[in-house]
């Protein structure tokens, strides 16, 4: 594998120009800039809100200094609350080309679009000089999520993703799993895998926080439909999602934007701290994927049963289809057919190995199904978190 070497020592598997709008009022102008570069690696991200939010500011900084990103153009209306000076300084400090266009000062829609397109053209030239260096599996950060789950997810796709995680962690990669709201009933099992008792306590508390949060929102119980689908207990339901994490020891707990300090398996706590303020922790699958990317994920494993088609801006998404019927129906959108496990053609181990090998191929430049189709979904909304404490990332094993 070869990657693009960044000033902070991290290596990217893509070299993307990101155009980021800093309020919904600048969204259209930013998207017009990107539209001129169809088929080239120029991608749109953004934050819609006019009111300030520390989480969004931090996420934007992390995303714009992600190793897969080569250069950043910020598009501001001018009067929104987003701190564009801070964001720009963070990108500049990372050694990347950066520019901020303010629509109110640039002369309106057409002038800003033109200035933006000219800048992006120059940035594409300039990032062609970023050095390419050898890359190992131990340089990779990999996330996993599941969405559009069905009865097959927990018995084919998720166990196969877990097997791939075991292989990747053994090779030194940092692997991240999340969805604490779907781990209710797994706290004790999960806490036993923590590398220190203190971390075990923190993992347990993160799930208890999720349970309280979802209870406030009126969600989070075991539904009758779950039993019809063959699930007998809440812990069995949760384990179907938890099994994506594989069997490695858990090295730490991170929150969105925290980059794993070394290889190992990490739980991402995605449920906001404090009172319930901004609604659901993550309003859709791409909100989860974006948080993985903000924590440095070079790519994300996405297990689906009913069949999602999404990709993502910045980092490729590998779609693992748990259901063989869905795989046949949406073949062009899928990368890995874990439905073979359901049909008895391949084992969980074999599919896990295929996922691991495909991760390496994608890291080395092969396009995923969603990349080939042009998918670049992105969403960032309001949340709030307290910083993690030192016990979340213990140094001793």
């Amino acid at each position: 594998m070869e990657g693009w070497l960044r000033a902070d020592g991290r290596k990217g598997i893509r070299n993307t120009v990101v155009v980021a709008y800093l309020v919904e009022c600048a969204h259209f102008v930013a998207s017009e800039i990107v539209a001129a570069f169809r088929g080239r690696d120029v991608q749109l991200i953004g934050f819609p809100g006019c009111f300030p939010n520390e989480y969004a500011a931090r996420m934007m900084e992390r995303l714009c200094t992600h190793p897969n990103v080569g250069a950043v153009l910020f598009v501001s209306l001018g009067c929104e609350s987003f701190d564009k000076v801070r964001a720009s300084a963070a990108v500049e400090g990372s050694g990347r080309p950066v520019k901020t266009l303010v629509i109110q000062k640039a002369g309106g829609t057409r002038a800003t679009v033109k200035a933006g397109q000219d800048w992006v053209e120059g940035a594409l030239d300039s990032i062609g000089n970023v050095p390419r260096v050898p890359m190992e599996v131990s340089d990779l950060v990999i996330g996993t999520v599941c969405g559009g789950s069905d009865g097959t997810s927990g018995i084919s796709g998720n166990p196969a993703a877990g097997r791939a995680f075991d292989l990747l962690v053994a090779e030194g990669a940092a692997c991240i799993f999340e969805e604490t709201g779907e781990l209710i009933g797994c706290e004790e099992i999960m806490a036993e895998r923590a590398i220190t008792p203190e971390l075990g306590r923190i993992l347990r508390e993160s799930v208890q926080k999720a349970e309280r949060y979802y209870a406030t929102l009126g969600y989070g119980s075991f539904a009758a439909g779950n039993a019809a689908g063959g699930l007998s207990t809440i812990e069995e339901k949760s384990l179907g999602a938890y099994v994506k994490s594989g069997g490695s020891p858990i090295s730490g707990l991170i929150k969105p934007g925290d980059v794993p300090p070394r290889g190992g398996l990490y739980l991402m706590d995605v449920v906001p701290d404090g009172d319930v303020r901004f609604g659901f922790p993550n309003i859709s699958d791409n909100a989860e994927i974006v948080e993985m990317i903000a924590s440095g994920a070079h790519l994300t494993l996405f297990v689906t049963g009913r069949g999602s088609v999404v990709g993502s801006a910045i980092s490729p998404v590998i779609k693992i289809c748990a259901n063989p019927d869905t795989f046949r129906a949406l073949a062009e959108d899928m990368d890995v057919n874990a439905g073979d496990i359901i049909e008895g053609r391949r084992t969980i181990d074999q599919v896990g190995r295929e996922i691991r090998d495909f991760v390496v191929a994608v890291a080395d430049g092969q396009q995923t199904a969603s990349e080939g189709l042009g998918h670049r979904e992105f969403i960032l909304t309001y949340k709030s978190f307290d910083p993690i404490g030192p016990a979340c990332l213990p140094r001793t094993a």
């Binding site: 018995i155 075991f222 063959g230 007998s232 207990t233 812990e235 069995e236 099994v243 008895g344 391949r346």
Partner: protein
């Protein structure tokens, strides 16, 4: 581990005492277990579980190698394992409205 085995049933982890149906297994399907071949006495829908070996009341049920509940009755090899013969070890108060343990 986990070679394709036992017909329509999947062993998710070597420590498990249940097998999971990867497709609906009709009543009468023969399943080969360590204790011998058994014939299903009822249809088992996809993703439902059967006992891989004899389970006694009070035993921990293991799937993915992890505990998913506790047996509330003795369960014979090949019998359906569900809400009628296991309970959560986590939230005993869980309500399962339409879950009578019958297949179909």
């Amino acid at each position: 581990m986990t070679a394709p085995e036992t017909g329509p049933f999947l062993l998710l982890h070597p420590d498990d005492n249940v097998l999971v149906a990867r497709a609906t297994a009709p009543e009468g399907t023969e399943v080969t277990l360590a204790s011998g071949t058994v014939r299903l006495t009822q249809s088992i829908p996809m993703a439902h579980k059967i006992a891989r070996s004899a389970i006694s009341a009070g035993d921990t049920i293991r799937k993915y190698g992890m505990p998913i509940g506790i047996a509330t009755a003795d369960i014979a090899p090949g019998a359906h394992v569900h809400v009628h013969n296991i309970r959560s070890g986590y939230t005993p108060s869980v309500v399962l409205q339409d879950a009578d343990g019958r297949a179909g």
